[in-house]
């Protein structure tokens, strides 16, 4: 149940497969560092696959926003893939659903990057 993340490079893009909980105690800080590292290595097209993320609290939502900004500031784009109902609802009520680019199909998400 604790947070796990692995990154896969697919061409220009990196898909981060996240699982478990993104909360203050668990995944938040780790997610932030991983995104910073990818951006530091020059990766600009990042997909966060949230399909196996079971729980996000307000701190986790904050990290999604923070990752979005970090990537954007470096001239890149961050997309979200596979929202569970809980995460979808959270983004909906916090009005972030329209801020993020959200996909339910990995190849469509990958094809969506414009460079």
């Amino acid at each position: 149940m604790s947070f796990k993340a692995t990154a896969r490079d697919i061409g220009d893009a990196t898909v981060m497969d996240l699982s478990g909980r993104i909360t203050l105690g668990e995944g938040s800080a780790m997610l932030r560092e991983m995104i910073k590292e990818l951006v530091g290595k020059g990766r600009k097209h990042i997909v966060l696959n949230l399909g196996d993320v079971t729980y996000i609290d307000s701190s986790g939502i904050g990290e999604l926003v923070s990752g979005f900004q970090t990537v954007r500031t470096s001239g890149g784009q961050l997309k979200l893939l596979h929202l569970t109902k809980k995460v979808h609802d959270l983004l909906q009520i916090t009005k972030l659903f329209t801020v993020f680019d959200v996909y339910s199909d990995e190849s469509v998400a990958l094809a969506s990057f414009t460079s």
Partner: protein, 150 residues
């Protein structure tokens, strides 16, 4: 031991582990009260956010200060209190996270989620200082969703 039935009072040290403990005990009590998975999740998340705030802003991560979580199964709702030993605060001073200029802020959504997830929500000054969150959730209606209190 007045009119209420189950009453759970948890005094926690100001530690990050206390957040999970508070959430778990709350989920267990919500289960006993007949709330379904989705409602337990919302109640648990609200307690989680409340205790994180008590930890960070109230008790300012000073371990020896206490956080008191109280869960009461009253006849018609589950009433939850989170009390800290901090400076207190007023909801009116908290920016709206849905406002255009706050939408991309990386924080400021905790109280909003508590308000969205619970039926009632208020912030009061604690009896001996500090902030006391008071939140409530009505029991699910209909067969199988009855609360254990009379």
């Amino acid at each position: 031991m007045s009119g209420q039935t189950h009453r759970v009072e948890v005094t926690l040290e100001t530690l990050l582990e206390s957040v999970d403990l508070a959430e778990d005990i709350t989920m267990r009590v919500a289960d006993a009260a007949g709330f379904d998975e989705e409602q337990r999740y919302r109640i648990g998340m609200s307690v989680r956010e409340g205790v994180i705030n008590a930890y960070q802003y109230g008790n300012q991560a000073e371990r020896d200060r206490k956080i008191v979580l109280t869960l009461e199964l009253t006849p018609e709702k589950l009433v939850i209190r989170v009390l800290d030993q901090g400076p207190g605060f007023s909801l009116a001073d908290v920016p709206d996270p849905l406002a255009e200029e706050n939408l991309l802020k990386t924080s400021g959504r905790g109280l909003f989620l508590m308000k969205a997830f619970m039926d009632e929500f208020a912030v009061n000054p604690g009896p001996a200082g500090g902030a006391e969150l008071v939140m409530a959730k009505r029991y699910p209606a209909g067969p199988g969703g009855a609360q254990p209190a009379k």
